[in-house]
Symmetry: C2
Subunit: 185 residues, 2 copies
């Protein structure tokens, strides 16, 4: 399948062409790990070795009621999950701002865009405007493959939805255009 | 009071000399606002006007028990506050990584360093190593004055503690050396 930009220009950024779609090595030691675990491990490695400072943001929570018992820690008795207004990860690498989100899908043939919500896309759009380095890491759980999508590409597909475009990015497009997990190990 | 670096070099960074210690204007409309409110307002302004993308990180919470009632939102029944492993605010301005924390004190004569905790100082140290733009915003509630301290200066005072240095930064040193609130309004 060929996807073009609205201008008709073919969608195929050479900078982001797949580097090497190499099969994963024979070891399956990471098989059970969630994408979040894998990224946290990477971030710890970067931190320990002074390569980058990247943290996952805490889950935003609306606190309704808190107990302050004597002689022990404050206990939150009622609270609700809120939608994040940003992506989950950000940080700094050599002075540059890094911003990304990570999503897993059980799908085999495409990546459903509904894994993102509007706020996150708008956040990426604004960070891009500020010249941040913005992307998404997506993982197909069925074969444990991980891809890096430039935020601008993600936004491109996101925006196409409102003019009748697909609600997902076909796996074939992803295989063809984006960096595979190989670079992350 | 004169504070020197351990090398004996006088502590007085000309780049960060007070810009103008102007008295606050006659309007007291912001008087009741907390520092957090003020900063959130600034960040919203930056966001709306495409000046910068800066967000406060959610409070980190350890969730112990969650109820999933039918037909309504998941309810957190038991959770506890955790210590933040980073500062509260970060974001991007023209590609550059920005990182800071904001602290209020009721003290009149000095800023107690115990307002920060070790993790936050270590985080600032690592972000500085990655060439992030790092600082602290401190507010003296008694006279509503707000100052910007370079992270490197904060770390300097923090580290002096372990060699018998003061547990606080005298107000006089702050008045003399750092940017006053004037630039923030």
């Amino acid at each position: 399948m060929t996807v073009n930009y609205p201008s008709g220009k073919p969608f195929n950024d050479s900078k982001f062409k797949k580097a090497a779609l190499v099969q994963r090595p024979a070891t399956f030691s990471n098989r059970g790990m969630t994408l979040e675990d894998e990224i946290n491990k990477s971030n710890q490695y970067y931190l320990r070795n002074n390569i980058a400072v990247i943290h996952k943001k805490p889950t935003p929570i609306q606190i309704v009621s808190v107990d302050y018992p004597q002689r022990s820690a404050a206990k939150i008795k009622e609270a609700y999950f809120r939608k994040a207004s940003t992506t989950d990860y950000n940080g700094v690498y050599r002075g540059k701002y890094i911003d990304f989100d990570a999503k897993e899908t059980q799908n085999k043939t495409s990546f459903p865009l509904k894994n993102f919500h509007e706020h996150q896309i708008e956040h990426l759009r604004m960070c891009l405007q500020q010249n941040g380095i913005c992307f998404a890491i997506i993982k197909f759980v069925y074969n444990q493959s991980v891809f890096v999508l430039k935020a601008s590409d993600l936004i491109h597909f996101w925006d196409l939805q409102s003019s009748g475009g697909r609600k997902s990015i076909p796996k074939a497009t992803i295989d063809k255009n984006w960096l595979s997990s190989k670079i992350w190990y």
